[in-house]
Structures are given as C-alpha cells and as structure tokens.
C-alpha cells in the first residue's frame, strides 16, 4: 500500500507507463491489422470482394440500435450492448479529470461531460459488465461457449471504471491508492486490446464490412 501511494510510483504510472501502454496498444493493434490484411492478400478471395458501399451499408444497419432482425429479437441485450459500448468509449474520452490532465500536459481543450452524467455513464458500464457476467451463467447457449478468458476480458474492462468510480467518490481506499490502481487498470486494458478478444474492437468493422460486401455486392442480399 505504501508503495502504491509513493510519489515515485505515481509518477511512473502517470508518465512513462502511459506512453508505454499507448505504444503497445497502437503498435500492437497496427501489427495485428497489418498481419491479417497481408494474410488476406495471400488468401486472395477476400479483399477483391470488399466493397466500400456495401460494407458501410452493413455497418450502418448493425450500428443502429434495433436496426437488424437479431437486435430486435433481443431487446434487453441490445439496449445493454449499445449503452455499454457508447459509455465505454465516450466516458473516458470526454471525462473532466482526463481532460484536465490533457490540458496540463499539452494545452489541449476537449469538450467535457458534466460530472454527474459521467458518473452515471460509469455506472452503466459497470452494471452492463454485471449483466454480461450473469448472462454467461444464466443463458445456456452462452454458458456453453464461456471460457476463463471471457471472465478475464470482462474484468479488464470492468476494473478501470470500477476504480475510477471509487476514486471519484473516494470510497474504501485512500484516493491516491485508488487513482494509481485506476491508471494501472486503464493501461492494462489498452495493452490487452490487441492481444485478447477485446481485439473485436479492431476487427469487427472489417468482418462486418466483408460480410456486408459479400452479401451486398456478390449475392445481392441483405445481411441484417
């Protein structure tokens, strides 16, 4: 605990460690995308069928809440999924505390979420994680394909929001310790994205666009 709260460690996690995390996240993601695309060139029957128009058409349908048959079949899952992903991305980018750090370092001003709203959005992310967790136990078709890695990636996503929430409300642990944990968890998530199935953040637009292209351009059919 003492180490966790030491000035030296704090400086490390909010300084070099942030750079490292972003470096791993960006280079790792770039590498994985590059690897797949260069592999696809060899497979030969994928890339020539990619269509910008039909890829976007498919993405647009699937990125719209209740915009597809399957989204409409699962109203609760759909609502949670969309709220979760929206809050997951928007909250950290437009959070006041993050923007202050950005301003202090680089004098960049970003639009900022009202603090109450950001708090609510954090809660939404955490509750969604609980929902996804329960779903893994309750729904038979999900339980059957659940592996330890599924809990692991869920925890990786949950923790930065959980520790951030605790730090903001100054609960349980000293603020300093919580903020260090929060930063560490955030960095862990960034690092994990390219190397776990959180990589769906990188690949899903491509897989969707490819299927949309095949369905739209070659097969003249809908895929939603």
């Amino acid at each position: 605990m003492k180490f966790l709260m030491s000035e030296g460690f704090y400086e490390f996690v909010r300084g070099p460690m942030v750079w490292l995390a972003f470096l791993v996240f960006i280079s790792g993601s770039t590498y994985r995308i590059y690897k797949i695309i260069s592999g696809l060139k060899k497979e030969a029957v994928v890339l020539p069928y990619m269509s910008f128009k039909y890829g976007l058409r498919s993405i647009a349908h699937w990125a719209t809440p209740f915009g597809t048959v399957n989204w409409r079949r699962h109203p609760v899952m759909t609502t949670v999924t969309f709220l979760f992903h929206f809050c997951l991305i928007i909250t950290p980018v437009f959070l006041l505390a993050h923007n202050i750090l950005l301003f202090q370092s680089w004098h960049i001003r970003l639009w900022t979420l009202p603090e109450g709203l950001a708090d609510l959005m954090t809660l939404i992310v955490m509750l969604s994680c609980v929902f996804f967790l329960l779903r893994r136990f309750v729904a038979r078709e999900v339980r059957f394909v659940t592996y330890p890695s599924d809990f692991f990636i869920l925890a990786i996503v949950f923790l930065p929001f959980f520790t951030g929430f605790l730090a903001y409300h100054q609960l349980f642990l000293p603020y300093k310790a919580l903020i260090v944990l929060h930063i560490l968890c955030g960095e862990l998530m960034l690092i994990a994205i390219p190397f776990t199935r959180l990589a769906h953040m990188l690949f899903s637009v491509f897989t969707r666009a490819y299927t949309g292209s095949e369905f739209g351009m070659v097969r003249h059919a809908r895929d939603w």
Binding site: R32, K35, I36, I37, S38, G39, L40, K42, E43, A44, V45, V46, P48, Y49, S58, W62, V69, N70, W71, R73, H74, M77, T81, A139, R140, E141, V142, R143, F144, V145, T146, Y147, P148, D150, F151, R197, A199, H200, F203, S204, F206, T207, R208, Y210, T211, G212, E214, F215, V218, R219, H220, A221, R222, D223, W224
Partner: protein, 448 residues
C-alpha cells in the same frame, strides 16, 4: 470454464466412412495433416474470426438445429464451432481419431452451411466458412460420411453426381424430347448447338430419376422460343458435392468442365435448373477457385429465368394453379443471390392462392438437407428430421397444401420433413406448375 451442457443422448449412428476413416489415423498423422491444412488455408480469415468472436451466443437462434432441439447449446452455430474448430485450434491439431470422428459428424451432419447465422452474428462472422474449413480438414484426414464420399467419387470418375454414363445422358434427352412431342409439335432439345443464347445445365439426379424436369424445361424453352442447348459432353452437370465434402480439387475440376462446356458452345449465358447448391458452386465458389472474380460466363438461376420470361411476356400464363401454395426460400439463392422478390413474382403469377412463410426471403429457415447433409444418406436421415422441427411448424402455419421448392436439396429434404411430421403437404418445383400454366399456341400443339 466451458461447462458441458447435457446433450440429449441419441442412438449412436454408425457411418462406415467415418468409422473406417478414423481407424486409419494415428495422432501423428492427424497433427501433421491438420497443421498443413491450416497453413494452406492461409489462416488470416480464420484468425480474424476467432479473435473477434466474443462468445456472446447471439448466433444461436439463427440455427434450425438449435431451435428444433429446444435450445440445446451443442447445436448453436458457435457451439458447433466450439466443438470443432476451437477444439482443433486449442490442441494445435493434436486431437484423437475419436475426436476427429466426432468433429466430422458435427461438421457434416449438423450444419447445412446455410449462412443464416452470419446474418445473426453482430460481427458478421462467416460461420459456414469455419465449418467448411473443418470439413476440408476432415476430407484431408479421410474421415468423410460414406454416402457423401461416394457422390464425390462419382464426380471425380464421371464428372457427374450420379455415376451416369455419356450415352445414358444423351439417351435421356432423346427420351424426353420424344415424350414431350406428344404435347408440343416438333419439340427439340438441341445438343451442342454452338453459338446458342443459352446453355441450360442441370444436376445429375435430373437425368437419373427426375427426367420429367428436363422435359418441363424443354417445353418452356420451346414455347418461349428460346435459342438454347445442352452439351452432350462432360460439363452438363452443374452440381457439386465435392464442394461440400471438402474436396476442393474435385470441386474445381467439375466446375471447370461446366464453364468450359459453356465456352466451347460459345453461349451468351448459362441458365441453371432449380437447384441451390449447384448455383452456389457455379456462381460463388467454383469461379473463385480458378481466380475469376465472377463467373466467366454469366450464370442465372431458373427463378431469374422464369421471372424474365413472364415479365417480358415471352410466355403467357393462362391457367393458374388453384391449390393453396407456399414458397420455401432456398438458402443458396436467397442469402446466396437475393432472389426472394423474383421468386414471389413468379409464384404469384402462376398460382392463385399464395401464402407466404414467416420468416422468409433471406431469413427463411433452412431445409436441413442442403450443404451436403442429405447426401450423407440414410444413416443420418432421422437426425436430419429431428433437427428441423421448426421448419415443419413454419410450413404447417401457412395452411398451404403445396410447398414450392426451387431447389433439389430443399425439394427432397422438405418432402422428408412433410412425411416425418405428417403435414399432409407436397413439394413441387416451380417448373412443375409453370408447364401447366403457360399458353401453348395452337400452331405448336401436337395433334392428338
């Protein structure tokens, strides 16, 4: 965690192809074969799919096997991928001969490659591609269902699906020509007519035991005044079970013969009979094997052809079919070619009482026969019936007496379902109804 849910125990099915194939395997052989196969596939697409799948289970309700087994997760698309491809990847190819047998059973008899699940996966993961890759591995391991393998052998040896000899093919065409001349004066089935507008191609089972379909086509072509031809030589059969057994080399040979027949005859386009998998093999798969982005000769399915004929007034509908009908949308021309509206146009034009299914068009439930599953033969029939209760319920709800199935696999598979679930219906091809609905000009009618 990967909890093993309870799978309803069914009587063990013995398939000699799987049993004998697995006996010849050793763990070393399996490991080498699998890893070579994965390397040859390239792996990028598979890697993207496996890395992207978040194990959410949202694909489950797309599958008729899953729905018909009351939500048994073993039958969900992702559940089947788990038991096959994930098993292979997790063990880096080190799986036992018994596991290979189990994997083959799932890949060949519990998935129709109908691609409905890629319309339900939020990421659009092509699960049919993954299962096809598993089949490719099983083929290379020599563990394939006996009946399906026999069909693939037939393709390899005779270039058609039914062990038909060349003279039998030509003789059947003459027989049909002769037969239909009782109705249409001077009806002809042109053979090897170079420069014809259309090469008409059919699947092996048509000359083998559904010859009247060739006669039907001949009547429609003659009445509509189409410049058409059949090849008398190899390439007349557009079907391709090797595509489903995982034997891409044979698949390629068969498709090549088909395209070359069209090129040799210098036709403007190929019109295919009412078959779905054959359309997929010619329009979507075979061309890619040779590096053609799209088929080198334009290809249309019978539904499109009938649509054109009616729309352009080349045939006139004078006697509509009276009994209530419904339409089964075959996966390979719906999700495979988006022909839902054209099929409805044709059916409405020739039938008085059309009652649509729900869900339909791209979302229609599969027949459970396609993807080579019905070709796995009698040992697997009961499993196929139990795996598609949902189709029986869907058809029953229409209240129709006749199910129009513009696809051979669907036609046979649905007739089986109708019998098994005692639905009191019958299947028909579009052409069965169309031939009786069209006007035959007096000048063409044969004297009685």
């Amino acid at each position: 965690m990967a909890v093993a849910a309870e799978k309803k125990e069914v009587k063990k099915i013995i398939d000699l192809g799987l049993e004998e194939g697995a006996k010849k395997l050793t763990p070393e052989k399996i490991e080498i074969t699998i890893n070579n196969a994965l390397a040859a596939m390239g792996g990028a697409r598979l890697d993207a799919y496996v890395s992207t799948c978040i194990h959410c289970g949202l694909c489950s309700e797309a599958c008729h096997f899953y729905l018909s087994h009351d939500g048994d997760p073993h039958f969900s698309p992702v559940g089947k991928v788990k038991q096959t491809m994930w098993e292979i990847l997790k063990n880096k190819g080190r799986v036992s001969p018994d596991s290979v047998k189990k994997i083959a059973e799932i890949a060949y008899t519990e998935c129709n490659l109908c691609r409905r699940c890629s319309m339900y996966c939020p990421f659009g993961i092509d699960i049919a591609y993954i299962i096809s890759s598993v089949r490719r591995i099983c083929h290379l391991l020599g563990v394939t269902p006996q009946y399906l393998q026999d069909t693939a052998h037939s393709h390899a040896a005779t270039m058609n699906q039914m062990w038909l000899k060349q003279d039998e093919w030509i003789d059947t065409l003459f027989w049909q020509e002769d037969d239909y001349r009782r109705e249409i004066k001077n009806l002809t089935i042109p053979l090897d007519k170079e420069g014809a507008d259309i090469m008409y191609s059919v699947i092996g089972p048509e000359p083998k035991f559904l010859a009247m379909l060739i006669g039907n086509a001949a009547k429609i072509m003659n009445v509509a005044g189409i410049d058409w031809t059949f090849p008398s030589f190899d390439g007349w059969d557009n079907s391709d079970m090797a595509m489903f057994s995982g034997d891409q080399e044979i698949m390629g040979r068969v498709k090549r013969a088909h395209f070359e027949a069209a090129m040799r005859l210098k036709v403007k386009r190929i019109v295919m009979g009412e078959c779905g998998h054959a359309f997929r093999s010619v329009y979507d798969v075979g061309n890619r094997w040779f590096g053609w982005k799209m088929p080198p000769v334009p290809v249309i399915h019978a539904i499109q052809f009938y649509y054109e004929l009616i729309k352009e007034g080349r045939i006139k509908i004078v006697k509509k079919f009276k009994e209530p009908v419904t339409l089964h949308d075959p996966c390979n021309v719906m999700r495979g070619r988006g022909l839902g509206d054209m099929a409805r146009y044709v059916v409405n034009a020739i039938c008085e009482d059309f009652r649509d299914m729900s869900p339909n068009k791209e979302h229609n439930y599969c027949c459970a026969a396609g993807g080579g599953v019905i070709n796995c033969g009698p040992p697997w029939k009961l499993k196929r019936m139990e795996g598609n209760r949902v189709k029986a319920e869907q058809m029953k709800a229409t209240g129709a007496r006749v199910v129009i199935t513009p696809c051979h696999n669907c036609h046979s598979g649905i007739e089986d379902i109708i019998g098994y679930y005692k639905l009191g219906m019958h299947t028909k091809f579009i052409s069965d109804i169309l031939v009786d609905a069209i006007e035959v000009p007096e000048s063409m009618k044969a004297k009685k």
